[in-house]
């Protein structure tokens, strides 16, 4: 199966033209082609994983095969190749599985949309590109697909192109990502300039013995700009919240589970490069940690369900990047995997709600649990997993990152991570209490979504529960002896960290319940009837007020500051660069007067200047 792994991206790649050119008019057929293709890829991915497990393919002994794609003898060889190691095998499984479920879900979600077929076409193209990215055995190929997934993301964000905001969001995503890709490209060009190859394994063999670490660090820093853009790290994260303008299944697949994780995957692929440069590792770790905290604080203030999830995604991606930075590639990839499942679930659940209500503001929802039992219960499971409540998936992966930070002595990052865990639990359950519980708002007619949508939810919910166990410290030969850097190792359970993170998660949930969970008119009625108990309630409310004050003055203030910074400084810089470029274009344009003799004068002036500049020294005193 491994020898045919190159077929995995080919299936959806074929589905794209078939859907666009052949089955466009017949919608069910389009969906069928798309799902069948990704289904085939999924089966292949399972087969590959099985063989990797059975045949002793390890990180140190991967399977690689390639043929030359572009070649210039003696100077340059670019391969189209496949590199299968446990890292790729896991990633293949995650991508195909989530993509398959999302496509099935989309049958229900996109039902009746005029762009139904096109949507499946784009999804197939995206899946093909993403799978190609995962299989790539060299920087050039990964960049090729990296750009392609960016293009698909752009197409899908702007899917509702008649909406002005969607159009703008698509453009923003595209431009921001081009900036990042520019850095990435320069970075691996520098690597090529140093080592003369793009191949990951050849580079991995050459990098540790390379002496000129200054130049290497520059290359690594440039490569890191790629993940900063694609995985929406500060300060290039601005595109991701806006990207929520796309259809919700797209948000689930591309902007939560897979594409945005490509940056983390790249860090894992290029881990040798980063691991040999402690300074860059520290930079990676702190960019990740800061992004995690920063995005989590913003998530607290959001009202739009998809925006909460978007900031949550940025925050969790920061977590993964931080894990990479502290040297724990295993933990980062583990969290990538579990996060893919529960975050996809959260988005699909949100989509189910949006589908039912056509409403995205959580404060205009409420009481949905009565009508949408499957959606709400799976959503809660996912939220618990994200919050890190044991024994769900998120607990194990997050705990491993925190334990890693703690064990390696990154106390600051450990504190940040724990704080983020608390905030995460809080904002997720704020969302749940406000949107799903409490009173039903008037005028809302919720209904459960069709089976095509709920079945994927249930499957993802199961995965959100169980997928953490493969990496739990109590499992021998778990995830850490499978995907690793250096030597396979076994994570020792750190009970102190576990306990603290559990407490923090529960505290976050509890605080959310205190602030948003209680039916708000009950205290009022009680206060009317029993004035003596009212004091107690007031006292209790007083505690709330403290919390609230703390939050509003400190927490929310911070969040607002971040938010303002985000809107004005970061966006402003991007706009400013654009303005300068555009204005210089306007000024330079005026040189073009339309008079042909002026043009001729410019030409001959140029000739004279060139002659004076170039010829004078060579002629040796012609013009002295």
């Amino acid at each position: 199966m491994i020898n045919h792994a190159w077929l995995i991206p080919v299936f959806p790649a074929l589905a794209f033209p078939i859907i666009i050119f052949l089955t466009r008019r017949v919608r069910p057929l389009s969906a069928l082609v798309g799902i069948a293709a990704i289904g085939a890829s999924f089966v292949m991915a399972v087969g590959v994983l099985r063989e990797v497990l059975l045949n002793g393919v390890t990180m140190a002994h991967p399977v690689e095969y390639a043929s030359t794609w572009l070649g210039i003898p003696g100077l340059l060889k670019i391969e189209a190749g496949v590199l299968i190691d446990p890292l790729a095998a896991v990633m293949l499984l995650v991508v195909t599985l989530v993509a398959l479920l999302v496509e099935i879900y989309s049958v229900g979600y996109m039902h009746g949309d005029p762009g139904f077929s096109t949507f499946f076409g784009y999804l197939s193209l995206f899946s093909a590109s993403m799978l190609g990215l995962v299989l790539a055995n060299n920087y050039f190929m990964i960049f090729f697909f990296w750009e392609l997934v960016g293009l698909c993301s752009y197409l899908l964000i702007g899917f509702y192109y008649h909406k002005q905001s969607a159009a703008r969001a698509g453009l923003k995503a595209f431009v921001t990502n081009r900036v990042a890709d520019f850095g990435f490209m320069l970075g691996f060009f520098f690597l090529f300039a140093i080592f003369g190859t793009f191949n990951f394994r050849e580079l991995a063999a050459a990098i540790p013995s390379y002496q000129n670490t200054g130049f290497l660090a520059l290359a690594a820093a440039l490569v890191f700009i790629g993940p900063i853009g694609k995985s929406a790290q500060f300060p290039l994260h601005v595109w991701l919240p806006d990207a929520m303008e796309g259809p919700t299944p797209v948000s689930a697949l591309i902007h939560a589970a897979t594409m945005v994780a490509a940056g983390v995957y790249l860090l894992a692929r290029a881990f040798v490069l980063f691991a040999s440069l402690p300074g860059i590792m520290l930079l990676v770790a702190y960019v990740g940690g800061f992004t995690a905290l920063f995005a989590a604080t913003i998530a607290i203030t959001q009202r739009d369900i998809k925006r909460i999830l978007a900031y949550s995604t940025i925050s969790q991606l920061g977590y993964m990047v931080m894990a990479m930075g502290i040297g724990s590639m295993t933990a980062g990839m583990f969290h990538l995997m579990t996060h893919a499942f529960f975050k996809a679930l959260l988005f699909l659940g949100a989509g189910s709600v949006i589908h039912a209500l056509e409403e995205q503001d959580i404060f205009r929802m409420g009481g949905l649990y009565k009508d949408m039992k499957v959606t709400v219960s799976t959503f809660v499971i996912a939220a618990l997993a994200l919050a890190g409540v044991p024994p769900l998936a998120g607990f194990w992966s997050k705990d491993e990152i925190l334990a890693g930070a703690f064990d390696h002595g990154f106390t600051g990052l450990y504190i940040i991570g724990t704080l983020v865990a608390f905030l995460t639990a809080f904002y997720m359950f704020r969302l749940i209490f406000v949107a799903f519980f409490g009173d039903r708002r008037a005028g809302l007619h919720a209904h459960e979504s069709p089976l095509t949508m709920t079945v994927p939810l249930v499957i993802l919910a199961v995965l959100s529960v169980v997928s953490g166990f493969v990496g739990a410290p109590f499992v021998s030969h778990g995830f850490s002896s499978f995907v690793y850097y250096g030597e396979p190792h076994h994570i020792e359970p750190n009970y102190g960290v576990m306990l603290l993170s559990t407490i923090v998660a529960l505290a976050g949930i509890g605080l959310a319940w205190l602030l948003y969970g209680r039916p708000s008119d009950v205290p009022a009625r009680l206060a009317e009837r029993y004035r003596s108990i009212y004091k107690l309630l007031v006292n209790k409310y007083y505690i709330d007020e403290v919390y609230l004050w703390l939050f509003h003055r400190v927490g929310l203030g911070l969040a607002e500051a971040f938010n303002w910074h985000d809107r004005h400084v970061v966006d402003g810089v991007f706009d400013g660069v654009g303005d300068v470029t555009r204005l210089s274009g306007h000024k330079l344009r005026l040189l073009q007067t339309g008079n042909l003799q002026t043009y001729a004068l410019v030409i001959f002036t140029a000739v004279v200047i060139i002659a004076l500049w170039m010829a004078a020294p060579v002629l040796g005193g012609v013009i002295q």
Partner: protein
């Protein structure tokens, strides 16, 4: 005199062009459409012959070089001419006159380019260049009902004549300082006699002439005006083929006759490339007319091609050859879309493209993907081409130049996307109808769209061919 057969392609082209002129006198006006088909079919036939001769090599009459490098470019010209011919059917009919002469001139311009690309001798190089230039003047002014077209014609003629005067002065100095006009012999003379003041001056003047033809800044100023005024298919042809021909001749002259002076002229090319890339991309941003936008974009593209010259290596020449070929499809694709739009709406303003995607998905897609290819975004062919060009200068340690080039191609995405935004996100004007595109043009559009993708995803055959032709150029 036994190797006349090497000239088959040129002779057939001349015969086709002259035959069409004669045919135009014989065929009644009502049947003139047939001439367009004859022209296209004839070009296709010659293309097949040229492809069959791609490995041929030899020297005719001591000064005319047939080699894979030249034949590669001839194939390029023929492809471009075919696309232009297909693109012109409706447009020329709309202009309303002299169809036979139009196609004949198109083909004779192609002949001029072929001579230019294959000349191993300065006299035939000059005549080829002038055949191309003068024919283009007439074609640029061909839209007789439009004053802008005449203005484009006279601008191109006068500026072209001035630039070719200085070019010619340079040729005379090179002839004087080497005593011969055969490029190979000049190379030998320069190697033995070394640099001299007149030779260096001649080099500068020749460079100015080529810089004019390839629209390098600051010799570029004619091009936006001429591109805007000329009939759209002619603009496409001019921007693609004449530029490629000038590059082929430039490579022959500078790499063949003046390689010993490369330390001297490479610096000039670096300066030109930097100016061209920066200015072309920046001034493209505020443009509102699609043809002017494409003019500035094609100035910028010329800057990228100059990078291949700067690298002064086999890789650089191969990269120029490859990029020129895919540039044919990228740029002609954009011009085909612009022509189709003009045929329907009579406008070249970008704002009128609003909502084009809903009026004609094919035209919009062709425009979008052509522009993406020009911007160098994978998986479009332009990506591979730019990659080769940047690689060629990186291998010569001009890393800063590569960075500048990549940075400016990021900028280019901005203005390309402005067009895409109008087409995909704007609303079509009230009462607008779907675009009517002739079947022939539709086929050409689909073909060039496919080729843009194929060359991006599986470029190896063409890159190998381009590299091989570059290698034979260096080792005849």
């Amino acid at each position: 005199m036994a190797n006349w057969h090497l000239l088959t392609v040129e002779i057939l082209t001349a015969a086709l062009g002259l035959g069409l002129l004669a045919l135009g006198l014989l065929v009644p006006h009502s049947d003139r459409r047939g001439i367009a088909y004859v022209a296209t079919a004839g070009l296709a036939g010659i293309l097949a012959v040229a492809i069959g001769m791609r490995e041929a090599s030899g020297v005719v009459l001591g000064g005319y070089v047939i080699d894979p490098f030249g034949t590669y470019f001839k194939i390029l010209f023929l492809v471009a001419a075919m696309l232009t011919a297909v693109c012109s059917y409706d447009y020329v009919e709309k202009m309303g006159l002299n169809q036979a002469e139009y196609y004949a001139l198109l083909i004779l311009a192609t002949l001029g380019m072929m001579i230019l690309a294959s000349s191993g001798e300065l006299v035939s190089l000059y005549t080829g260049l002038e055949l191309m230039t003068i024919t283009f003047c007439i074609l640029a002014a061909y839209h007789l009902g439009d004053a802008k077209s005449a203005e484009a014609g006279i601008k191109y003629l006068l500026l072209g004549a001035m630039s070719s005067a200085i070019f010619l002065y340079g040729l005379s100095l090179v002839y004087g300082s080497s005593g011969t006009t055969v490029i190979r012999e000049i190379g030998q003379q320069v190697a033995t006699r070394g640099a001299s003041p007149a030779l260096l001056l001649g080099t500068i003047f020749i460079l100015a002439g080529f810089a004019f033809k390839v629209t390098a800044v600051p010799f570029h100023m004619w091009s936006p005006d001429v591109y805007e005024g000329a009939p759209t298919p002619v603009t496409g042809f001019l921007s693609v083929a004449s530029k490629a021909a000038a590059f082929a001749a430039l490579v022959r002259v500078f790499f063949g006759a003046l390689p010993d002076l490369h330390n001297f002229w490479v610096q000039l090319f670096i300066a030109l490339a930097v100016l061209t890339i920066v200015l072309g991309n920046l001034v493209a941003i505020p443009q509102t007319n699609i043809k002017r936008l494409l003019a500035y974009s094609s100035i910028a593209q010329a800057g990228y091609l100059l990078l291949g010259i700067v690298s002064f290596s086999v890789l650089g020449v191969g990269a120029v050859a490859y990029y020129a070929m895919l540039y044919v499809f990228g740029n002609m694709g954009a011009f085909m879309a612009a022509t189709a739009f003009y045929n329907n709406d009579g406008s070249d303003e970008i704002k009128d493209y609003a909502g084009l995607a809903r009026r004609s998905p094919l035209v919009a897609a062709l425009m979008l993907f052509s522009l993406l290819s020009l911007a160098g975004i994978p998986p479009m062919a332009g990506f591979v081409g730019k990659f080769y060009l940047f690689m060629s200068i990186i291998s010569r340690q001009y890393i800063w130049l590569a960075i500048l080039g990549i940075l400016m191609s990021m900028v280019s995405v901005y203005y390309y996307l402005l067009v895409a935004k109008a087409m995909y996100l704007g609303n079509p004007p009230e009462g607008s109808k779907p675009l009517q595109v002739a079947p022939g043009l539709q086929v050409a559009m689909v073909v060039s769209l496919l080729i843009l993708f194929i060359l991006g995803i599986y470029p190896t055959p063409l890159t190998n061919y381009a590299m091989n032709s570059a290698v034979t150029f260096f080792m005849p």
